[in-house]
């Protein structure tokens, strides 16, 4: 391993990956360029817009603020994996029903951010939902439809638990 390159071993969406990465490569660039997982997007590259949101060891992170080299040994989940696993099928259905996306560029990050709140259980207030997604920039919708969709899923899941 040279000064500028690192060998990393991690799981991405359940698959074991061993790669050599440049030390400066961000997690989101690694996912997009090395693994062709292009569902995680690059919007601002400084941690403001949330388009690059992915899960690392079960917690959502900004893929542009974390280096791939930091993910050695980590469990990384992206929209592709979470979607294929069916974990957020109800949330995706609610987004579709409510037209909670237009261009869709923010949507993968928005879904993962919403799912983190929903996994906590209960029916959060609209203000709490807005706070949860307050770091995810959407230029198209004005957010109301997104809040509606997340709220609807919280209610559905709470109902299903009873």
């Amino acid at each position: 391993m040279s000064e500028h390159r690192c060998d990393i071993k991690l799981t991405v969406n359940g698959e074991t990956i061993s790669e050599t990465v440049e030390a400066r490569t961000t997690l989101v660039d690694f996912l997009r360029e090395a693994l062709s997982l292009t569902g995680s997007h690059v919007g601002c590259e400084h941690g403001v817009c949330g388009a690059c949101t992915v899960r690392v060891d079960g917690v959502i992170v900004r893929g542009c603020l974390m280096l791939a080299a930091q993910c050695d040994g980590a469990k990384v989940e992206t929209i592709e994996g979470v979607s294929d696993a069916g974990e957020i099928a109800d949330l995706q259905a609610a987004f579709e029903r409510r037209n909670a996306l237009q261009c869709g560029f923010c949507t993968p990050g928005m879904l993962l951010t919403a799912q983190e709140l929903l996994r906590g259980g209960g029916v959060p207030s609209r203000d709490k939902i807005r706070e949860q997604i307050s770091g995810n920039y959407c230029r198209c919708t004005g957010y109301q439809a997104i809040v509606d969709a997340i709220e609807a899923v919280a209610q559905e899941r709470a109902e299903a638990k009873r």
């Binding site: 592709e80 979607s83 294929d84 995706q92 993968p108 004005g142 109301q144």
Partner: protein, 798 residues
């Protein structure tokens, strides 16, 4: 005319069984977007693809004395380092003028600056490498010697004799001027009991699309073809421009537009760096990709607004408006943007000011001046937010001055709903508007009287809430009067081709494009309804100049009204073709047949006669069984362009309810309402979401967004931490409703809805803030964005 609520009705004005017109069917393209399976241009990779990065001018105005690229050329992974002079052998410069904007002038702009950089951020040299990272590394090794020149950065002094002229060959810094007088403004002001005069300022802001501009150009020397993957709103326009400036025939260029991560008018222009990418691909004979990073987006994506409007209104004590006058000054960049020009926004301000009202006495001047800042051009609702805020700001200041309720003053001056066709003070023509119906609906929807009572009660407790309104008109469905008459090859018409496949499903190829607004869904709805199939059987193909009818694309709220009508007509034409063949098979007269829910039926009884799959099977595989001389034509194409009216104006009114914290200067948006009239509503949910998203974009302009430049032409806040955009916490829920006045210019009767929200929201919020602060004696706030600091200054607290 009828009022519709937020929730859709299943019935339709358009007389077809199983119609999807007026129904909130979901968009067909959402699943891939939600699963991370979309294809944005930033996701595209091609074999042998190289990546470009640009060295950009750090100076707002500088002579480029020398460029030494020798070290950069040796850097790891570098394919080429190319200067403006070298690239100018591959691609010709352009001048952004339109002949119908009389006197508009600009200078030739190169893909990469040659000899001189005219704004901080203009590309001066390109580096192409195996990866973007390596290209950026090598950019740092390019040695450029600049001689800094005086930067012209103040629009107010740009025309002074002592100010440097940016393009000496043009004689002065005046890009465009329009003067317009109508009626008798002088007499109007004399007849007024009160005159209100103020200056409105609109911050320079930009689109901040979540996906930055992105392009992959692939010159295949073997095919002699250029394939361009581009996140654009107007693929055919770009095809024409790439061909023209690369010296190719149009058929040698294919523009492909798949998923686009937000547009809003940002992605409908010619960008120098994107022109450079197609030229670099031609030069290097391999695919070249460029995705703007966020800082590049701030200094190169078109900026918009930045108007200073001195304005006055005359009003009688009975509320009658007697005259309007505006003097607009806007500072653009060093070039008028190609091909739509940077004169359109100021021109629209002149066109639209006073638009909703009967007062004909109007005097206007608009001047557009060159500055050494980033270029300016059309952004969502072009000119409307300025004209609306000026008009509505004047109306509410006049109402306050004569002590009249602001809605009452509007009632006394808005053009009557039965007075159409009519025209605005500038001469813009209105086919049919519904200002009064919209206002009445808004009044009850928001419980205006109740809110006023609440506002008064809370003031007693030291809580300052404000209610503000903005009536507006919106330009939609533009005819060739917008660009075509000015010589730009921007199509006003659009076409749709529908084709029955061999199993009874339908393909529709159409020239308008999907930017997330739902054009694909609307197209499918129109085709499914007109032809007579379940919507799941319609597949829409867009964004490919090789495979769609020639069309304008998506801008000026045209995709649904124009593209939708073309799709509707094409669907009808295919139905005629199919029932002709079915008639031949069934030995029935075609006019006794119809297609419903994918089955050919007896028109009168609805009795099922033959499935579309069977018609297609016979037509494609057993045509030998058809009578001699009968040829099935299972493809139909129709085009549409508005002809009776230059523009299909819509109208509406918005209201804002907000609270100002008089200690911190923060504004809390509590509620927002919009009642608008876009004619036939094809998909109520999509229309409402256009309104909501548009309103929020306008709220950003009112409260947060501004590109802050220093006097040397440096953008000080070119990142998303410092340039504030609306985020979820600060935005209110928005209630929408519609008055429906279809245009008679098309069978569908749909007008556009994409920009109404953005048109009205800033003025509406301005009026609400001033309403909140009026009892505190604050000077009227008219300088957007209304930051906490400005509010505290108006209150005399800082």
């Amino acid at each position: 005319m009828k009022i519709t609520e937020d929730s859709p009705s299943a019935l339709t004005a358009l007389d077809r069984p199983n119609s999807y017109i007026g129904r909130s069917v979901p968009r067909p393209n959402m699943a891939r977007l939600m699963q991370g399976r979309a294809q944005f241009v930033s996701d595209v990779t091609l074999p042998r693809m190289a990546h470009a990065a640009f060295v950009r001018s750090p100076h707002a105005h500088a002579k480029i004395k020398s460029i030494d690229s020798s070290a950069a050329k040796q850097a790891p992974g570098v394919v080429a380092v190319v200067t403006g002079a070298e690239l100018s052998k591959v691609i010709t410069p352009w001048v952004g003028v339109l002949t119908h904007l009389k006197g508009l002038k600009s200078a030739p702009q190169h893909a990469i600056a040659v000899d001189r950089a005219c704004w901080a951020g203009e590309a001066v040299c390109a580096v192409v490498a195996r990866s973007r990272a390596e290209a950026e590394d090598a950019c740092e090794l390019v040695q450029i010697e600049y001689e800094e020149l005086i930067a012209v950065t103040d629009a107010e002094t740009a025309l002074d004799a002592k100010t440097l002229v940016i393009h000496p060959e043009l004689g002065d810094n005046l890009t465009f001027e329009r003067v317009h007088t109508a009626g008798n403004p002088e007499q109007g002001f004399k007849a007024a009991d009160a005159v209100v005069e103020t200056t409105f300022v609109f911050g320079r802001h930009t689109g901040v699309t979540n996906e930055p501009r992105a392009i992959v150009a692939d010159w295949n020397a073997g095919d002699q073809r250029m394939t361009v993957y581009q996140g654009t709103q107007a693929p055919h326009m770009m095809q024409n421009l790439f061909a023209k400036h690369l010296g190719l025939q149009e058929h040698q260029v294919r523009v492909l537009t798949k998923d686009v991560g937000g547009s809003f008018g940002i992605k409908v222009h010619t960008y120098a760096d994107e022109m450079a990418i197609v030229a670099l691909s031609k030069l290097l004979k391999r695919p070249v990709k460029f995705v703007a990073d966020r800082i590049e987006s701030f200094v190169t994506d078109i900026h918009a607004r930045d108007h200073r409007v001195k304005a006055r209104i005359g009003v009688k004590n009975d509320g009658t408006i007697t005259a309007w006058e505006i003097d607009d000054l806007t500072g653009i960049g060093p070039y008028s943007v190609y091909p739509r020009t940077s004169g359109i926004e100021a021109n629209q301000v002149v066109n639209l000011t006073g638009g909703p009202y009967t007062c004909p006495n109007y005097k206007a001047r608009a001047r557009v001046v060159f500055l050494n800042k980033n270029v300016m051009c059309q952004y969502r609702a072009v000119g409307h937010p300025i004209a609306t805020a000026v008009t509505e700001g004047l109306v509410e200041l006049a109402a306050a001055k004569i002590g009249m309720d602001p809605l009452e003053l509007r009632r006394r001056n808005l053009i009557a709903d039965d007075a159409h066709p009519s025209q605005g003070p500038s001469g813009i023509k209105f086919e049919a508007l519904s200002h009064h119906a919209a206002l009445a609906h808004l009044d009850s929807m928001m419980n205006y009287a109740g809110l006023r009572a609440e506002q008064a009660a809370l003031r007693q407790k030291g809580i300052y809430r404000g209610i503000g309104f903005a009536s507006f008109v919106e330009v939609t469905n533009p005819s060739a009067a917008f660009y075509g008459v000015g010589g730009a090859k921007i199509s006003a018409q659009d076409g749709a081709t529908v084709r029955l496949d061999a199993t009874g499903a339908v393909f529709c190829h159409i020239g308008v494009t999907e930017q997330g607004q739902g054009a694909e869904a609307v197209t499918a709805q129109c085709v499914a309804s007109a032809f007579g199939v379940p919507i799941e059987r319609v597949r829409v193909i867009m964004g490919d100049t090789d495979n769609t009818p020639y069309g304008g694309g998506t801008w000026a709220s045209r995709a649904a009204g124009i593209g939708g009508e073309a799709a509707w007509q094409a669907g009808k034409a295919l139905r005629q073709n199919v029932v002709a063949i079915a008639g031949s098979i069934l030995q029935a007269k075609p006019d006794t047949l119809d297609i419903r829910n994918g089955v050919v039926v007896d028109r009168d009884t609805g009795k099922e006669r033959i499935g579309l799959d069977e018609v297609a099977r016979i037509a494609y595989f057993r045509p030998d069984t058809l009578p001699t001389g009968v040829q099935a034509e299972l493809v139909a194409t129709r085009h549409y362009v508005p002809r009776a009216w230059a523009f299909s104006f819509t109208n509406g009114i918005q209201a804002s309810y907000l609270e100002v914290d008089t200690d911190s200067g923060f504004v809390k948006l509590l509620n927002h309402w919009c009642v608008e009239d876009c004619g036939t509503v094809i998909n109520p949910q999509l229309v409402d979401e256009q309104i909501r998203g548009g309103v929020v974009q306008g709220l950003g302009a009112a409260l947060f967004e501004q590109c802050v430049y220093d006097d040397r032409g440096q953008l000080l806040n070119g990142n998303m931490a410092d340039y504030l955009v609306p985020m979820a916490m600060e935005m209110p829920d928005i209630e929408c409703a519609h008055v429906v006045t279809p245009t008679a210019d098309s069978e569908l009767g749909a007008k556009g809805a994409g920009e109404a929200g953005t048109a009205g929201a800033p003025g509406c919020v301005m009026n609400a803030i001033n309403d909140a602060l009026r009892p505190l004696g604050a000077a009227a706030l008219t300088d957007m964005p209304f930051t906490p600091g400005k509010i505290l200054r108006a209150l005399g607290k800082v």
